[in-house]
């Protein structure tokens, strides 16, 4: 709890949480959520982008602006009750809010805003490109976490890191080009030497360091990056069984193996299972490997052993929802062993 929160400017609004802590929304804070987390408070959240609804708050006093009034993270009930999303709300002056804090959501690495310079890129598939950026200070995060990248026009998108934390300041991402997507296209148009701002790290689906359970990593499409980062962290221990599933639409969308082959135990304790969902597509011609929806393949291949595993996943919402249902409802895997951030 902060006794006297630091204001970077005199005009920076003070935000008081009813019955407890307070924090300052400084100019670098895009929303109340970023400000609270930077102050070390456990304000519940997942996606930081208006979709999941985890960061719902009630504004009790003071004036705020809403960045995205129609954000899908608020249900009809939430709106009836006057709730707002901390990630889509900015204070216009001092405000008082009501929210239940959760110690587990307090950042273990304090998020910071830093400027990145693009160092190199390489294409992994027809629409996924790896970006390597360099920051002036160390790249500090926990494998599995994401950062918010800011491009021009105040646009912000969350992308997970694919490398490991490092003193050299290298931030690596694997980004899928979304047709018509303003931020992904702006990133794909960047040339080495160009700069952008990063705010991070964020996210709670990070490596459980003290676990010795076997690990199952499941990625679909753009969910590749955080699973690669986790594989790099866990795969360094060849005595630990690790199964890595990657689901792509066609055979041409399969990637990830080149990032794993040099890890200890590859092909032995560390197994890579690519899965293609659309065999009838011409781009899948000649595919002899696993096929179907990745969650179904995971269920078939791993079965009951999933109940003993530490499971991490990231990918498109339909994949994430199907996995949640299979793990929680069908297999009754203890919730504590399932790690994901809900994005929509």
């Amino acid at each position: 709890m902060t006794a006297s929160p630091a204001r970077q400017t005199d005009a920076a609004p003070l935000v008081t949480i009813e019955g407890g802590a307070s924090f300052v929304q400084n100019p670098g804070d895009a929303s109340l959520l970023q400000a609270a987390l930077r102050a070390g408070l456990g304000l519940p959240y997942e996606c930081s982008s208006g979709g999941c609804g985890s960061c719902r708050i009630q504004v009790l006093a003071g004036e705020v602006e809403t960045l995205w009034p129609d954000a899908p993270g608020l249900s009809a009930r939430d709106r009836r009750k006057g709730l707002q999303l901390a990630c889509q709300t900015r204070a216009c002056g001092d405000v008082t809010i009501k929210v239940g804090l959760d110690r587990a959501c307090a950042p273990r690495v304090t998020p910071q805003v830093t400027t990145l310079e693009l160092a190199a890129t390489r294409d992994l598939t027809r629409d996924i490109r790896e970006f390597s950026f360099r920051a002036p200070g160390p790249a500090d995060f926990i494998p599995g976490q994401y950062a918010i990248l800011r491009t021009g026009d105040g646009l912000r998108r969350c992308y997970s890191m694919s490398n490991l934390p490092n003193a050299e300041g290298i931030w690596e991402f694997q980004i899928k080009r979304v047709p018509g997507g303003a931020v992904s296209n702006a990133l794909f148009d960047m040339a080495p030497g160009a700069t952008l701002d990063l705010d991070g790290p964020y996210g709670l689906a990070y490596l459980v360091e003290d676990s010795t359970r076997p690990v199952v990593l499941i990625a679909g499409g753009s969910g590749l990056a955080p699973m690669i980062s986790l594989a790099r962290a866990i795969g360094a221990d060849p005595s630990r069984r690790l199964d890595f599933f990657y689901g792509g639409r066609t055979a041409a969308d399969i990637c990830g193996e080149t990032h794993l082959v040099d890890l200890p135990g590859f092909g032995d304790s560390l197994l890579y299972h690519p899965v293609v969902s659309t065999l009838e597509d011409p781009l899948s011609a000649g595919w002899q490997g696993l096929s179907g929806f990745v969650h179904e393949v995971v269920g078939r291949q791993m079965g009951e052993s999933l109940r003993e595993a530490e499971i991490y996943f990231a990918g498109p919402p339909p994949m994430a929802e199907a996995l949640q249902r299979m793990l929680m409802l069908d297999l009754k895997v203890p919730f504590e062993q399932i790690h994901y951030d809900r994005f929509f």
């Binding site: 456990g42 519940p44 999941c52 609804g53 985890s54 719902r56 249900s75 009930r77 239940g100 804090l101 959760d102 110690r103 587990a104 959501c105 949640q324 249902r325 929680m328 409802l329 009754k332 203890p334 919730f335 504590e336 809900r342």
Partner: protein, 117 residues
């Protein structure tokens, strides 16, 4: 001298408003309460908000006596409020009575459960 203190019961709804096999959320004396009308006729009052992130369980599923939160699929036994997955949490249960077709509960001393609080 002893004084018998009667527990105060608050009117929630007509029993007709929550059909058997259904749940509904009400605000009672500052508490968000879920009225569960279980198959077989038993009526139970539980905290309405999931102890994980305060999502209303009225927005989730209710099948075979099990309440499922829509957000992370946390599950609770609607008879007792006990957590099924995860098991280290529960829903607070409110004393309930049905008088002349009216559902009434007491909120005295009942504190909703919340993880990480």
């Amino acid at each position: 001298m002893t004084v018998a203190v009667a527990t105060e019961f608050h009117m929630v709804c007509d029993l007709d408003e929550v059909w058997e096999g259904e749940v509904a959320e009400f605000e009672v004396a500052g508490h968000d309460v879920l009225i569960v009308h279980r198959a077989g006729g038993e009526v139970v009052a539980l905290q309405a908000l999931c102890p994980h992130q305060d999502i209303s369980l009225a927005e989730g599923g209710f099948e075979n006596g099990v309440l499922t939160c829509r957000a992370h699929l946390w599950q609770f036994d609607s008879a007792t409020g006990a957590g099924l997955n995860p098991t280290d949490c529960r829903l607070a249960r409110y004393p309930l009575r049905v008088v002349d077709g009216k559902v009434q509960i007491s909120v005295e001393g009942v504190v909703p459960f919340r993880v990480g609080a």
